[in-house]
């Protein structure tokens, strides 16, 4: 793995995105529109409570989809096979994608959170930039999961089917629908294995606490660690030789 190849890969993925402005528009406009809808539906107190965790869920969802489809395309078009027959590190591929989609996640989080904080009157007691930070790390988790599951999918139809499998249980158990303490014991344990739980937890800290204590940083550290571990796992499980 070299910085040059990783960086070249990230730039190449971003160049591909630039040639596809409609996808970029969808990635930025759709979550913003959904948040606007939510702000409209919910009474203000509920909106203030639910908006920050949702700001963490969107990037994970979108980045998961974008990454699993993009890497699957690399497999089916043969470009991945070609790259792996060249002096390309597996880590170059995975982290190149992570950097490119990380940039996309940053833009998305800035746009969506920006609209929420300005036009939609969202306020948090903690620091708004940290909301963006957690959202970006969540996007990286989505990218890592997408890279990982794309290894198990043979068609784009299959890849899309993995989305509910990878994300819906996390959504149900993350504490947004029911606080994790109130979940059945076993499900409570499971919820602490899932990255989204930490993201939602961290977001909820920012909502209510003016001074962030160590619990916030533990949550933030755990999701970051999980994102990096999942990316590394994605690199390790990438097979240079296939059947």
């Amino acid at each position: 793995m070299t910085a040059r190849r990783t960086w070249a890969t990230a730039r190449r993925v971003l160049a591909q995105l630039r040639n596809d402005p409609r996808t970029i528009a969808l990635i930025l406009v759709l979550p913003t529109a959904l948040m606007t809808l939510l702000a409209w539906i919910l009474p203000d107190s509920e909106w203030q409570k639910y908006a920050p965790p949702l700001l963490g869920i969107f990037p994970m969802l979108v980045m998961f989809l974008v990454t699993s489809v993009a890497t699957l395309r690399e497999r089916t078009s043969g470009t991945l096979e070609r790259l792996l027959s060249m002096p390309m590190g597996k880590g170059d591929f995975v982290f190149g994608y992570a950097i490119a989609f990380g940039v996309l996640a940053i833009v998305q989080a800035l746009v969506v959170a920006g609209v929420c904080f300005t036009l939609l009157d969202l306020t948090v007691r903690g620091s708004a930039p940290l909301v963006v930070l957690i959202a970006v790390v969540d996007g990286l988790v989505g990218t890592a999961l997408g890279l990982f599951v794309s290894a198990f999918a043979q068609t784009e139809f299959q890849a899309v089917q993995f989305m509910p499998v990878a994300l819906l249980p996390q959504f149900l158990l993350c504490g947004l629908i029911l606080p994790t303490e109130e979940l059945p014991t076993v499900l409570g344990w499971i919820s602490w294995l899932l990255p989204l739980t930490y993201a939602v937890n961290a977001m909820q800290h920012v909502v209510v606490d003016t001074q962030l204590d160590t619990r916030f940083w533990v949550d933030a550290g755990v999701i970051t660690g999980m994102a990096v571990a999942l990316l590394a796992l994605g690199a390790v499980t990438l097979r240079r030789q296939t059947r």
Binding site: A15, E81, R82, M88, Q241, T242, R243
Partner: protein, 238 residues
């Protein structure tokens, strides 16, 4: 006597329910244009994938340029073109070549050289997805030429190209061979036999025959390789 660029010993490859390559042994001499001819499904692609180190082998071994196939050091020395053009259709020709050049660690001079070699300079700024099939496969071929590899493994590079272009590519292959590159090229079109210095005939994952075109024609007493292929198949069956 030249040393072998590729030597395959007792290679077996299983893909799904099919034994694609069946206890195959062969040698590919270096510095020549070697044709791997056989019908589709004869195991050409599996053999080529194994040579470039992306295919799981059931048994047997392959040495490429004196090292086991798939060795990390070989990745910069072997150029590989898959059957379908494996380049990014949503990037321009130039962006594709520049990216792969960076992966190979070669300069933009190579990109310039390749644009001329595969005659794509006029469409360099066009998206690959908007090009014709023939142009797209030339982008794919150009990518393999970037690193000035010692061995070029080309899986059906001339399929669907117009005759003039096909002739130009064969000329290019011979120029590369003259400069010392081993060009290992597969085809299911038997007429392409006459373009190669040496032929390997493959059928059902086994080596049917090898030699120069004239040797094979002489052996079978046939007018062309298509008939020679048939004569060997039927001769072997009886």
């Amino acid at each position: 006597m030249t040393t072998a660029a590729i030597s395959v010993r007792d290679l077996t490859i299983v893909r799904g329910p099919v034994t694609a390559v069946d206890h195959l042994s062969l040698e590919v001499p270096s510095g020549q244009v070697i044709g791997l001819l056989g019908p589709s499904g004869s195991g050409k692609s599996s053999l080529m994938r194994a040579i470039v180190g992306v295919q799981v082998m059931e048994s047997g071994s392959i040495d490429v340029l004196g090292q086991p196939a798939g060795s990390p050091t070989l990745r910069a020395q072997v150029g590989y073109v898959t059957q379908d053009p494996s380049v990014y259709s949503d990037l321009s020709v130039l962006a594709n070549l520049r990216y792969f050049a960076q992966i190979l660690g070669v300069t933009d001079d190579s990109v310039e050289r390749v644009l001329d070699q595969v005659d794509l300079r006029e469409v360099a700024d066009r998206l690959v997805g908007r090009l014709s099939g023939g142009q797209r496969s030339r982008v794919s071929l150009g990518t393999a030429l970037l690193g000035s590899p010692q061995l070029l493994v080309l899986d059906e590079p001339t399929v669907g190209l117009d005759p003039a272009l096909r002739r130009d590519l064969w000329t290019l292959f011979h120029q590369l061979a003259t400069a010392g590159t081993t060009v290992f090229v597969s085809s299911h079109v038997m007429e392409e036999a006459s373009r190669c210095d040496r032929l390997l005939l493959l059928r059902d994952g086994r080596l049917l025959a090898e030699g120069t075109q004239s040797q094979l024609l002489e052996r079978t007493g046939c007018q062309d390789i298509e008939r020679a292929f048939l004569a060997i198949v039927e001769g072997g069956a009886s």
